[in-house]
Symmetry: C2
Subunit: 491 residues, 2 copies
Amino acid sequence: MSKGITSRSEDYSKWYNDIVQKADLAENSGVRGMMVIKPYGYAIWEKIQAQLDKMFKETGHQNAYFPLLIPKSYFSKEASHVEGFAKECAVVTHYRLKNSPDGKGVIVDPDAKLEEELIIRPTSETIIWSTYKNWIQSYRDLPLLINQWANVMRWEMRTRLFLRTAEFLWQEGHTAHATQAEAWTETTKMLDVYAEFAETWMAMPVIKGAKSASERFAGALETLCIEALMQDGKALQAGTSHFLGQNFAKAFDVKFTDQSGKLDYVWATSWGVSTRLMGALVMAHSDDNGLVLPPKLAPIQVVIVPIYQKIEQLEIIRTEVNKITEQLKIKGISFKFDDRDSQRPGFKFAEYELKGVPVRLALGPRDIEQGTIEVVRRDTLEKSVVQQVGIVEYIEKLLEDIQQNIYQKALNFRNENIRKANSYDEFKTILNEKGGFILAHWDGTPETEEQIKSETKATIRSLPFEYEKEEGICIVTGKPSERRVLFAKSY
Amino acid sequence: MSKGITSRSEDYSKWYNDIVQKADLAENSGVRGMMVIKPYGYAIWEKIQAQLDKMFKETGHQNAYFPLLIPKSYFSKEASHVEGFAKECAVVTHYRLKNSPDGKGVIVDPDAKLEEELIIRPTSETIIWSTYKNWIQSYRDLPLLINQWANVMRWEMRTRLFLRTAEFLWQEGHTAHATQAEAWTETTKMLDVYAEFAETWMAMPVIKGAKSASERFAGALETLCIEALMQDGKALQAGTSHFLGQNFAKAFDVKFTDQSGKLDYVWATSWGVSTRLMGALVMAHSDDNGLVLPPKLAPIQVVIVPIYQKIEQLEIIRTEVNKITEQLKIKGISFKFDDRDSQRPGFKFAEYELKGVPVRLALGPRDIEQGTIEVVRRDTLEKSVVQQVGIVEYIEKLLEDIQQNIYQKALNFRNENIRKANSYDEFKTILNEKGGFILAHWDGTPETEEQIKSETKATIRSLPFEYEKEEGICIVTGKPSERRVLFAKSY
């Protein structure tokens, strides 16, 4: 097959779109800004969901489901929250259609206007905290550790498949606690869960940190985040965990009686990751030949392509293949035996390369004679001929190697692309010539942050946890600074 | 704990609401007609989802995701489809809020009016077939076997938790085929999957059949369904599978080239079950003490309550319990050891009875001395004292017994409540005095069907597959009839 993928060096943005569409992950729908997640893309999302859901449950969370539509008045209850989301709300105003008087199609029935408009949830803090009010009376009802898998809608003007879409799928955790300390522990714990997932499962190194005040979630006292570096040197925010303080408890009047009988507002967190992770996954590892998937999230981990001339040969190959796949099944390794007669092996090779299947096996009559099998790993495209004896153990080890290798590759790239800038000129030079993350001193004011953003398009990605504090002076204003912060251009 | 459940004989409808709310399955939200599915209820739904999803995949289907919002014009493309759904559509007309000029809260920004209104999907045939148009060109692209897990919205005027809500969760399968025969096979295959799920997993016997023309899905040539009988003698439609013919292919111009090179419209099916199944599950088995869950769908299959006076005793009990739970884990039996010190055993017993946990164990110092354990099964509330040796095998067998027993009980009830009526008078008498299913002759016309409905509130639930054809005369008009059909009042 002809892949027709634009190379990264030619046009990175087009390369990304080509991969997403040609590897059958997603496509634009007929509805502005909304995507169709195709079966192969959705199968990857299901793997992401399954692992995250397991990690949430292991940390004591339960799933629940809250309404899609939120009364407009709920939004107004937390001032900065409505400020943050008002401009991108899809609004339901009517609840009925009727036949058009001119007989052409249907129109919205003006008699079916809602008294109060309903908003399609852009996030669910307001509807959930209005519910928690009835669930929480005493410290015995706390902590409340709930997660929701849902679709949300934010009316984005410029959309890109997975990275920024009007509708996206996500999970949103919403927890309630008796003390500030406990809520803060939850906020950092869930950030750690996200970081572990990104690194261990997506093979994508991330930097943990806190957002600057201007980049915080609308209604949060503190927003923690994980930031990953894409191959074009731009950062991508891959997950956020918010410490909400008592803001939503106050907005929705959620109080509890503590052990001493005192009444107080409840402490809150919320945290989420979305189908945006799919975009990060594509950009973190893929190459000009197509998608590269970490084995732990690949819907098909091993593909087996028979090489034959005559149909009798295929049957002999099939017998050998069955011996291998029986063992793969036992080990829980997913596979596909592509015995389609309509396509040639070369076409199939290209197709699975494009789709990022980690390991490809090819087996022909000569291999069977010689007791060998051809193995190609997707990450390096290295080809080996190995003995059929012990092949399943070989594959098992290879899948681990690939997972580790793509993580290490991404980590090396990330580490090579964190640079310190000690002056604004140096900052701009690095940004223009190399991109990547830049550690620089900042005076802590939103004005300077805004100036840097408008002059260079770089934003503060986070006040990273893992880099040492260091006294210095702001690269723009020369005012004193206590620490370097992490800048980058971003998605 | 005081359960405060209304008895079925006193007020069946109130009994249902009591169970749903007091067993923490769901509650009404602040948004009209929309429910909150609480963690315990959602855990049951997750079990339902997991099993159905497995069955869909085993029958060759893949999951995907399509947009929540559908342009109004898409609906008009299939005439009977829009006719069927127009009256219950939630309509998005604007995409932005702004601060109110009077400074009080936010208002819908009149400048952000959509050119074409968008409908929150009540079902996804139109958006999916508009997508399939680009996916299908040749017979090689067929069959296309896709399922979607999603939320949908139908603006119902009278709502009831799980049974009829404005928003509900469901799955919708949408398949495309090269031939009429293949599409028909798919339609019946998925009905069989639903029936197997209902009977084997929900322990709820169902009758398979075809809807009468007036009860068909809007846009379908044939709607197959499974019908279950609730304890109050009313029927509940638990799942539907639609043969759509070429209607949607024609509406969205989806053609394919067959093996002979001829161009033809694609054949379609769609099929779905929803959170309505939760309502069916509650009503099928529960009693005046609370929920009764089939072990296969119970989030907690076994609860263990320690009986102790002093805290030292609890630690001895805990050691014994750990031996049991280790073995339960190995067998994949889910359990909870309720060692809360804040509640007495009697309170805990009542709570797990209410929540329908199939097996309850109680263990005290005397049991430990004697090597025994108290076992109570939820379905019959029978109490036994059994030996600790072999307890896990005992529990495993007991869970199977309970699953089988509640199925058999529901089946007996259902079979006792299928009656033949040979005259309209007899029909009315049975309906008023006994309820249940009635097999009666009908002349096949929508007029007679409508007359029976308006006079008795009974509807034709289906033309059931499993009852023999038999010549007769319509109970209302005396006209000839080829078969009895299944009537009942219904949810």
